[in-house]
């Protein structure tokens, strides 16, 4: 039995996760990858978004994922959040059935349970994570309802608490996020993702497209949440500055493969792989 090793505080263990778009052929894995500079199979035109990605996420740590556009960063978090069906691979979650079952092979209802109770996701685009036509309070309530909390007063209280946390004035609770600025929408989205107290939070390019002052606020918020709530986070970004400030460990993705992993400062100051060196030396 490939059980998760919880003695060391590992909360999520992913082994050989692969994701392929297209029908696929026996040559896909052999003819794509960093050495070919592409993740499109020349024989069948399938896209190998992820190939044999393995990692461990520990309690309270922030793990960074960097890579250029199309390297598979978003596919990775989307597979973990079950937005996309993983092609193959194993995942064990210490909070689910003590890590006894492969989460990628659970039936839909169980996957929904994990999504609603154990994970939070913040998308780059607030449109994906929020219903802009509902009030911010309504958005938070939606997440709480899916986590089986039905008591009106409780929901209301929790909503207030979360909005205060993410520094959104309370009177915005009954406003629709469609009228908010991008930074505020992003913070409402974080509030929504945190609503059910998830032990794992997935953040996909959360600060991309925000202006620098708002970006600073969002980064500070994420760091504080990690310190105070001890949540484990997976932070996906192409911005090495963000990665440096937030994460302890980082993995570098290229063409769907992990080419290097290590302590964040080691990756940034003493990169071993050619691609990582290129990436780091392109930093402004």
């Amino acid at each position: 039995m490939n059980n998760i090793n919880m003695d060391h505080g590992c909360v999520l263990q992913v082994r050989n996760l692969s994701k392929k778009f297209g029908r696929g052929c026996p040559h896909c894995e052999k003819l794509t990858g960093p050495e070919f500079g592409s993740n499109v199979c020349p024989k069948c035109n399938s896209v190998v978004a992820l190939h044999h990605v393995s990692f461990d996420l520990y309690q309270g740590e922030i793990l960074g994922v960097v890579g250029e556009s199309g390297s598979g960063k978003s596919s990775l978090v989307q597979c973990l959040y079950f937005d996309q069906q993983a092609t193959s691979g194993e995942g064990y979650l210490s909070y689910y059935n003590d890590g006894e079952e492969n989460i990628f092979q659970l039936p839909q209802s169980k996957k929904r349970y994990i999504r609603n109770h154990l994970m939070g996701m913040v998308y780059q685009n607030p449109l994906l994570g929020l219903r802009l036509g509902f009030t911010s309070g309504g958005n938070i309530a939606e997440k709480l309802l899916t986590a089986d909390i039905y008591h009106y007063e409780t929901i209301r209280e929790r909503g207030k608490e979360l909005l205060t946390r993410t520094e959104i004035p309370e009177y915005y609770m009954d406003e629709k996020p469609k009228r908010f600025s991008g930074g505020m929408q992003q913070r409402v989205q974080i509030a929504k993702a945190l609503a059910n107290n998830p032990p794992i939070l997935l953040l996909d390019e959360v600060t991309t497209g925000l202006d620098v002052s708002v970006q600073a606020k969002v980064l500070d918020l994420i760091k504080c949440l990690q310190q105070e709530l001890n949540i484990s986070m997976l932070v996906v970004s192409h911005d090495l500055g963000v990665i440096r400030l937030l994460t302890n460990r980082t993995m570098v993705l290229k063409n769907g493969r992990i080419v290097e992993r290590g302590l964040t400062d080691q990756i940034l100051e003493d990169p071993q792989h050619n691609y990582t060196q290129l990436l780091v030396h392109s930093m402004l």
């Binding site: 600073a216 500070d220 440096r244 302890n248 290590g262 400062d265 080691q266 071993q272």
Partner: protein, 221 residues
């Protein structure tokens, strides 16, 4: 050893030394000889090509910092090993006070207590009260450097690595910083430091390790 742009830079060869509890080892040698690289190897920011670095942790276990897994290193960095770099990296728009308090809070200290201690240290290195709630990015070089120093020593690490911490300080604040470091040393912290200015080195160091020039050479591959 350390590779950059196809060029292999052999920075350090056969370095061996020992530091005991409460002892300060100064590293000397001309610029570019690898003093900072050595500190970074100990902190695992650089991956050493070969060799062992043995560290005895607070539980008395010996850990090889070269081969220890990342989580072990992160644990040691969090609770035992401090590093004062030449530059300060903090999240923008977080006040100086919060930066220093945060250094303690993330190690599990109570927030109230952390704030008290942060105030004490900030005033000791002579950062005016008016700056406490300001963002460090607006600080002068010397102020940033002092912030950097107290950020690393406030949690009283068991081992401290110092990379020219007093480079941009005026004599008075330098004295204050030196006395802070000496105090910490007296409490038993082992230290390894690089200083350009000889006087400071003499005031702090118990012994010196000279990285002689002959031991380094540059190779083109």
């Amino acid at each position: 050893m350390h590779i950059r742009g196809g060029k292999t830079i052999l920075s350090l060869m056969d370095v061996s030394f020992e530091v005991k509890k409460g002892e300060f080892l100064g590293l000397t040698g001309p610029s570019g000889i690898g003093k900072s690289s050595l500190l970074k190897c100990i902190y695992r920011t650089y991956v050493p090509t070969s060799g062992d670095i043995w560290y005895t942790d607070s539980m008395g276990d010996r850990v090889n910092l070269v081969t220890a897994n990342e989580h072990e290193i992160l644990r040691l960095r969090k609770y035992e090993i401090g590093y004062i770099s030449q530059f300060l990296h903090v999240i923008p728009r977080v006040s100086a006070m919060d930066v220093i308090t945060g250094a303690l809070v993330e190690k599990g200290f109570d927030r109230k207590e952390s704030e008290e201690r942060a105030k004490e240290y900030l005033s000791r290195v002579g950062i005016p009260t008016s700056l406490w709630e300001m963002f460090p990015s607006t600080f002068s070089g010397g102020e940033k450097q002092r912030l950097n120093i107290i950020h690393a020593i406030i949690s009283k690490p068991r081992m401290l690595l110092l990379d020219e911490p007093t480079a941009s300080l005026d004599p008075n604040t330098k004295n204050e910083v030196v006395s802070l470091i000496l105090e910490l040393k007296k409490e038993g912290t082992a230290m390894i430091g690089v200083f350009h200015d000889h006087d400071t080195m003499i005031r702090l160091a118990d012994k010196q390790y000279d990285l002689k020039l002959e031991k380094t050479k540059e190779l083109c591959v």
